[in-house]
Symmetry: D2
Amino acid sequence: MYGSTFGNILKISTWGESHGAGIGVVIDGCPAGLPLSLEDIQAYLDRRKPGQSRFTTQRKEADTVDILSGVFEGKTTGTPISLMVRNTDQRSHDYSQIADCYRPGHADRNYDIKYGFRDYRGGGRSSGRETIGRVAAGAVAAKILKELGVEVTAYTLSIGPVTIDKSKFDKEEMGRNALYMPDADAAKKAQAYLEDCMKEKNSSGGMVECVIKGVPAGIGEPAFEKLDAALAKAIFSIGAVKSFEVGDGIAAASSDGLHNNDAYRMDEEGNVRKKTNHSGGITGGISDGAPIVLRAAFKPTPSVAAVQETVNRRGENIEISIKGRHDPIIVPRAVVVVESMAAFVILDAMLGSMTTRMDAVKDFFKNL
Amino acid sequence: MYGSTFGNILKISTWGESHGAGIGVVIDGCPAGLPLSLEDIQAYLDRRKPGQSRFTTQRKEADTVDILSGVFEGKTTGTPISLMVRNTDQRSHDYSQIADCYRPGHADRNYDIKYGFRDYRGGGRSSGRETIGRVAAGAVAAKILKELGVEVTAYTLSIGPVTIDKSKFDKEEMGRNALYMPDADAAKKAQAYLEDCMKEKNSSGGMVECVIKGVPAGIGEPAFEKLDAALAKAIFSIGAVKSFEVGDGIAAASSDGLHNNDAYRMDEEGNVRKKTNHSGGITGGISDGAPIVLRAAFKPTPSVAAVQETVNRRGENIEISIKGRHDPIIVPRAVVVVESMAAFVILDAMLGSMTTRMDAVKDFFKNL
Amino acid sequence: MYGSTFGNILKISTWGESHGAGIGVVIDGCPAGLPLSLEDIQAYLDRRKPGQSRFTTQRKEADTVDILSGVFEGKTTGTPISLMVRNTDQRSHDYSQIADCYRPGHADRNYDIKYGFRDYRGGGRSSGRETIGRVAAGAVAAKILKELGVEVTAYTLSIGPVTIDKSKFDKEEMGRNALYMPDADAAKKAQAYLEDCMKEKNSSGGMVECVIKGVPAGIGEPAFEKLDAALAKAIFSIGAVKSFEVGDGIAAASSDGLHNNDAYRMDEEGNVRKKTNHSGGITGGISDGAPIVLRAAFKPTPSVAAVQETVNRRGENIEISIKGRHDPIIVPRAVVVVESMAAFVILDAMLGSMTTRMDAVKDFFKNL
Amino acid sequence: MYGSTFGNILKISTWGESHGAGIGVVIDGCPAGLPLSLEDIQAYLDRRKPGQSRFTTQRKEADTVDILSGVFEGKTTGTPISLMVRNTDQRSHDYSQIADCYRPGHADRNYDIKYGFRDYRGGGRSSGRETIGRVAAGAVAAKILKELGVEVTAYTLSIGPVTIDKSKFDKEEMGRNALYMPDADAAKKAQAYLEDCMKEKNSSGGMVECVIKGVPAGIGEPAFEKLDAALAKAIFSIGAVKSFEVGDGIAAASSDGLHNNDAYRMDEEGNVRKKTNHSGGITGGISDGAPIVLRAAFKPTPSVAAVQETVNRRGENIEISIKGRHDPIIVPRAVVVVESMAAFVILDAMLGSMTTRMDAVKDFFKNL
C-alpha cells in the first residue's frame, strides 16, 4: 500500500493499526522555533477520545501521546516531529466472532481481496484509530495557524434528522453537550433520537461543518491544487465521509447566477467586502478573504447490534449481529478530525503561497 | 504557482491560458503499445466544444488537437504524450469592458491579489478552457480503461430545479438533446427553464452524475489515497464545483446503519453480491466491485448579462452587466470533464494497485 | 514511463523525441512578475545548438523556442510556462541503417526490452535533444537567480587527457574557443587531441565543472533533500554522465580529517570565513556560504564511425560502423545543460527554504 | 524542513535525532504477504552498530529495533511498516564542550544559520544515527529483492591510500576483518594506516563499492528518474559522501568511444551478452542486464582530537580539540548504509516498471 503521506510543503505520514503496538504520525516540514508542548497535542487527542459519553464506544483508550523527535527545549527544531500513541485496550476477543465473516458497511471484504488476508482484529488500518495521527498533526497545524491569525472551528451540524438552528448558534454550548452541537435544543433532540437508535440496536449518520476565519485572500492554487480541491481530498480521506461541500454546496446546483454571485462593495474603512458568502470563502480555488465554510456528511456507524445478512470467507450466506462496544454515531468524535485535516490543508496552502510573487521572493532573500 | 500536475503513477501536467497561444497537457506514465489516434482524442474534445447549441457560448472554437510526442506508428511509446490545442477565436475586446473591475462570482480579484496583476483577457488560467488539457488526457485514460473492461459514463443529472427521472433513464437520449440529459422529458423541461433564465439575463446551476462500471474490488488505498478521496480532489479541481458525493452521499447523513449498510449475499453463480449499493461502490476508500457512483454540483455561470454590483481596481463601487458570449449553464459541457477526471483517477489507482501483493510482484518478474 | 517531472517547489516536465514534432518543457511554480523574453531563453538554447564548430554534429537545427503560455505583457504570470522547440532537420534515413541493430554504448537495446519496440529514429527520448527542455527551463531559473544575487558558471574542465590549468583560468576565453575551455593553451591541446580522435573515427570523453556563487548559507535540507543529493540526481539525469563530485570529491577519500576540514576564521569585516573550501560549499547537505563547486564526468560519444561488434534484433552477431553526423565530444554542448540543471536545483532549494523558520513565516503573513 | 521522505512507489520517511527519544522510519508501499521478522531487520542494524572494533566509536548503542506496525502473524500487511530504535547511550556532556562553537567539517554552523538555534547534542539530524532508519528499511528492501532474484553487495573499496586488489577479492573475508574489506592483505595495510591516523589524532576517508546482481534489463526511466540518477541521489544523501560513480565512472572522461563502448555478442545459449561492462550495468538510465556497479567516496571523519582553528557563536576565533568517542573512519559502518539505499532504489525502480507496457497491464487485470 502507498498513500499514507499527505501534503505539499508540510507532509504528514501516518502509520499504525487498531490492534498493533501503536498509532503514530511523522510531521515533516514544520517551521523551526514554534513553542510546542505535549499538552498542545494531548488537548486535541482528548477531543476524539472514546468513552466520554454514552454515545461513544465504552472502550477505555488512554490515547496518551509521546513526542519522539523534532522538539528540543520546548520548541520545534525544523526536523521531523514523530508522535506516537501506544495502543492499550486491545480486547481482540471482542472481534473474534467476526474473524471469518465480512461486516456489512465495513471494508473487511475489500481489504481481504486487496491484500489477501483477513485482519480480524477490528479493521486494522481502516479503523477509526488511524485518525489519531491526523489529530496529533492537526494540533500542531492549528497552533501555527493561531500564530498567523487563522482560527479553525468545526462542530456537529446535524445528527440523523436533527439539524442545528444557526440563529441559536452558541460556540460555548459545543463543549457542554456530548455531541459537540452549538445549539442546546438541537443537542437535546439529537440525544433523544440517538437513544431510540440504540434501543433498536441501530446507528445514525450526521454532518460536520467547519468554519475557518482569518485566511487572507489569495491562498490556494489554480488547476489541481485548488484550495477547495485539497480540502475535498483531505476531508474525504476520513473514513465514513460520503459528501463534501463548500459554501452553498449542493444548493448552488438549483440556484441561479444573480443569487449565487457574491456582490462586492466598499465598506466604511475603504476595504472591499462581499455582501454575501455563497462561495464559502473560495472562488476559482483561491481564498477570497471571507470565512471558509465547508461541510461533510458522515454515514451511520456500520457496526450495529441488530441482525444483518452477510457472507463469510467460505462463501456461505450467514447472519450476524455485531457485539462489542461501538459508537452509535461517529460524528461527535469526527469533529476534531475534520478540524485537524482542514487546519493542515490551510496551513500547507499558506506556506505554499510564500513563493508566488517575485517581489516577495526578492524581499525574503534581501532581508536574509 | 504550482499544482498543475496531477496523479501518482500516471501524471498529467496542464498548461495554457484562455487567450495565450494555446492550451495543452503532458501525460507522463502512459503504458507503451496502446493504439492511439488523433480521432480518439478529438472525439472527447468535441463533446466540450462550445457553439453546439443555443445553451452554450457562441464563441467559435475549433479546438483541434495536435499530438506533439509520445506516439509512434500509431501506438504510444511509453514516453510523455504532449497534446496541444491552439487558441483561435480570441476577441479580447469582448473582455476590455471588465479589464478594470472584478466580476462577481469570478476569481478575478483573488488572482489580482495573489499574483499582483489583472489578466483582463477572460480569466486566464481560471478559464474553462483549462479543462481542454484534462479532457484530452481523459480520452487517453478512457481508451486504456476500455481495454481493461472499465466503462465511465457521465451525464447531466439536474439543471436548476429539473432533475432526471431515473426510471426513464435512456443512455441514447444523452446524445440527442443539447443538455446531455438521459431523460427526454426532463431535457425538455430543463430547456424551457434555461430559456427563462436567458430572458432574465440570468444563468443556472446543475448537477453531473458519473457511473463507472467494471472496476474490480480492491482498487484504492487506505489513508490519504482512498479512491473516493482521489476522486473528490479530481472533481473539485474543476472550476465551479461546489459539492461532491459518492453513493447516497449527503443522504447518508440522515440515514441509519441498518438501511445504509449493503448486505452481502451469494448469487446463483456463487459470487458475492451486495443487495444494494448505498456505498456507491467504495467502502473504506477501496472499491467493492459494485458500480462506482459519484455526483458533483456546479454553481450557476457567474457571467450574467443582468446588472450587478461590484468594485473596480481603484476601490470604487460600480455596476456592471457582463457582455460577451457566455454559457447560461456550464453543466452540459462539464459532463465530459467529469468523465475525464474520473477516468484518469480510476486508471491511476488501478495501475497503483499492481504492486500491492508480494505474490503478484513475484509472478510479474518470474514471467519477465 | 514516468519520471519526466523534476523539482519540489518549482517543477519542470519535459517532453518530446528526437524525431517527433518537437521538444518542450512546462515550468510550474515560477514566481509571478519576472520580466522574461524569448531572447532570455534563446540565448541559452544557442549555447547547446549543434553545427557551431567542426567538433559538434553538422546537423542543422535552428532550435528556435516559442513561449506558449505563462508570460503576459513581458512578465511571468505565475501560471505554467510552456516552451516548445519544433524539430526541423529530421533526416531519418541517416538512421535507417541502424533500425534493426543495437548500437554499442547506446540505450537502444534497453529501450527495446523495456517498451517492446525499436524506435530507430535516433534514440527517441534518450536523444541529447531531450536536454533542450532542460536548458530552456535553466534559462528561466538562471534569470531568477541573478535577481537573487546568485551566479552559475559551468565550463569544460577536461577533454580526454587534457585538463585546464586553473592558474590560467580566463572566463572570457570560454566564449572564444569552440570547447568552452577557460584556458587557451588547454583548448589548443584538446582540439589537437580531438582531431586525432576524428581521424581514427573515434570519440572522446571529458569533464564539466560548475561553480555557483552567491548562495547564502543554510540552503538545502537534511536527509534526502540534501543540496548535494539533489544536484547529484539532476546532473546524473543528463545522459552520458558517469560520475558526480562536490568540492574535493573523490580526492576526499584518500585525504585525512585535518587536511579535509575547512577551518573557520573571522575576517576583517567581522564575518565568518572558511580558510579553505574542500567541502565545495556544502556540508551536511546544506550550503555553507562558500562557492558551490561540482564536477561531472561524461563518457565518450558512443556513436563512432569505426567498425564495432554488436547484435541485431534477430539475435545475430554483426558489425556496424555508425554513419551520420555525430559529435566527437559531448562536453562542449553539455556545459550549458549542467549549468541549467544546477541553476534549477539551487533555485528550487532556495524557494524551499522560505518556510524553514517560524519567525520568517510570521513576518511574511504580517506584511501581507 | 522537508525532505525526510524518499521513493516513488515505495516510500520511506525517516525521523529522529542523535539524542532524542529514538530514531525511526516508516516504510509505505511494501507489498503484502512478505514474511518479515525482527531478526531480518536487526541483522542489518548490527552491521552498522558501533563499538565493534577499535576503529569505530566506543559508544555503547544497543540499537535494538521494534516493529510498531505493518506486520501481522509474521507477514507484512501492506500497510505502513513503522520501525523504531530507542536511543540509549546519551552522554550529552560528551558534547557540552562544543555547545558554543562550530566544529570544522561539520554542519553545526549551517544548521544554526538555517534553523536559528544550536543543537549542541551531537549533530541532531545530521548525526550518523539518522542512517538507522535507512538501514532498517534497507533490510526490508533487500529481503524483497532476494525473492525477486536480486542480490546487493557492498564492501570497503579503499581506506586512505589503501585500495583492495580485485584479483584477491574474497567475499568471505569481508566478515572476518573489522573494515569490511574483501581482501585480507589490504585490510591489514588499512588497519596499520588507521593506527597511525589515530596516533596523530587524525582521521581517514575511504571508498565503498556496491555490486547489484540479478536486475533484469529495462529497469529505470528515461529523463529524471534514470536508474543511476536515482541511485546518485540516494547515495549522496548519506552524510560525508563527496563523489558517486557508476561503472568506469570518472575514468570514462579520459577514455574514448571504442574502448568505453560495451560490444554485444551472442553467447552459446543464444543470449545477448556484453563483452565488457564499462557502463556498470546502466545505459541511458536503464539497466542493461549486466551487474550494476557503483562507488561512493566518503570524506574523513570531521571529528578529530587534534587541535583545530574555528569560531564560536559570539564570533570569536578559538581553537578546539574534539573529545568524545568518534570513528577514525566512517567507511566500514557506511557499507551497510550504501547497500541499504541501493537496495531501496533498485526495488522502487523495479516496482515502478510493472506499469510500463500495455500488454503486461492487460495481463495483470485479466488474471485478477
